[in-house]
Amino acid sequence: MERPFFQVPRALLIGLLVALILQLSLRSLNPPSAPKAADLPPPPSANALAITAFGDPIPLAKVLMLYLQAFDNQSGSRTPYQALDYQQIETWLSRILQIDPIGQYPLMAASRLYAEVPDEAKKRQMLELVYREFFKDPDRRWPWLAHAAALAKHGLKDLPLARRYAAAIQTYSLGEEVPLWARQMEIFILEDMNELETARIMIGGYIEKGLVKHPGELRFLEQRLQELESRIKQNK
């Protein structure tokens, strides 16, 4: 059992209150400064990170990703993404992936954050990073390449690039958990490119090989195939 507060000498309580106010005032006078884009240093080497990680690199990778995150700002726009040095960003993301290949955060950041800037060159740089890294684990990294394909198609209006990304998913992401829509992206991009014959062959291949199991999806593809065939006939 403790004694009630009123038994504590009043001078002590008043002193404590004054000290607390002093502390709060002192700290509020010295707020932390937000990092600037130019402040982002190059990442440490993989060896240096291995030493720093003390044999457990994944927590370090997570912390590094949060550290990198501190160099930009989505809503406050103190440091817009495009003000960052993208060469450094790319090196940081690659390095983090190197020490934590299971982590999806770096590719999410590359495809959904750093690639969504109005600067086309920077956008392409991030998409290419996603494309390169995709091949190291296609069954797990396909969502980021699928997003990259969508960005290439709608953001960059570069259909050949979008097709390249979609084709990579179609060819390499063969795991059962990869949804069919992701593997069929190439067909729809081909349609947009007016390469109707190739799209028709691909859909026909899907149906013939029995790759489409769901009756709804099968119906949709058959309908799509019919539409394509009629468009091809019209073009002829």
Binding site: R3, L12, L26, P32, Q74
Partner: protein, 256 residues
């Protein structure tokens, strides 16, 4: 009043000497020096800077650990052996007991800061070492005060040490947390971000600026400006006052 305070302070310093704290500090200096020499052999350039930076960073953490461990074990041991009750049964105020303990622990903290700074004086310019040493002393004084507060409040070795370690880590990383909270990437909604930011900022207000103290850069020739350094000294005084009074309030509420 001075007599009781001085006696308790003297006993605390004697306890530090008899618990071979100085030997532990010397061994730590030796090991850190050896580790720095080893890494110096590996480095190709900036050998001196690498050695100095590593020594300073490791010694800083070791000093904080030793001070916290000593203060906590001293308070908890006295409480377990009923020595605290014996002190408090004397015709002296509880504040005198606290002042004696904090004075004794402060002597230990200052001695450690002095010894560690002296070690670095062989490798770095005197001005930088002086800034670093004084700043480390400030940091250790705050750690000592917080360790005593935790030991008095929790009265258990493990929980008091865990609380002090948590406090130290939080104080060293709170600015980084504020930066992260201020730059959200998620899309939880503006009010979630604002709430999180407010909570982190509120915690930061209650923490001392340990992350700005004992900077390795000062040893490498980038001395702090007078205003920054004065700010750190003021911060130390204010925080010692705050934690000291909080400990006293807790001490006065305890039934022995």
């Amino acid at each position: 009043m001075l007599l009781v305070t001085r006696t308790i302070a003297g006993i605390t310093v004697l306890e530090a000497m008899r618990s071979r704290l100085s030997w532990v500090a010397l061994i730590a200096i030796g090991l850190v020096f050896a580790a720095a020499q080893f890494l110096g052999q590996v480095a190709i350039i900036e050998v001196d800077q690498i050695q100095l930076a590593l020594m300073a960073a490791i010694l800083r953490v070791i000093a904080a650990f030793l001070v916290a461990a000593f203060c906590i074990t001293s308070i908890v041991r006295e409480a377990n052996d009923k020595i605290t009750e014996l002190f408090l049964s004397q015709p002296a105020a509880r504040a005198e007991y606290y002042l004696g303990k904090i004075a004794g622990c402060a002597v230990v903290a200052l001695a450690l800061a002095g010894a560690f700074a002296l070690t670095l004086a062989f490798f770095a310019p005197a001005v930088g070492v002086a800034y670093w040493g004084v700043s480390l002393a400030c940091e250790l004084l705050i750690v000592a005060a917080v360790a005593i507060f935790c030991a008095v409040s929790l009265a258990q070795l493990t929980s008091a040490f865990a609380a002090t370690a948590g406090f130290y880590l939080l104080a060293r990383s709170i600015t980084a947390m504020q930066m992260i909270a201020a730059t959200p990437l998620g899309s939880e909604g503006p009010w979630t971000d604002a709430t999180l930011r407010t909570i982190v900022d509120a915690i930061a207000l209650a923490m001392p600026a340990l992350d700005q103290m004992a900077q390795t850069g000062w040893l490498l020739g980038r001395a702090p400006d007078a205003a920054t350094f004065a700010g750190l000294l003021i911060q130390t005084v204010v925080y010692l006052l705050l934690i000291g009074l909080a400990t006293l309030v807790d001490l006065y509420r305890k039934n022995y």
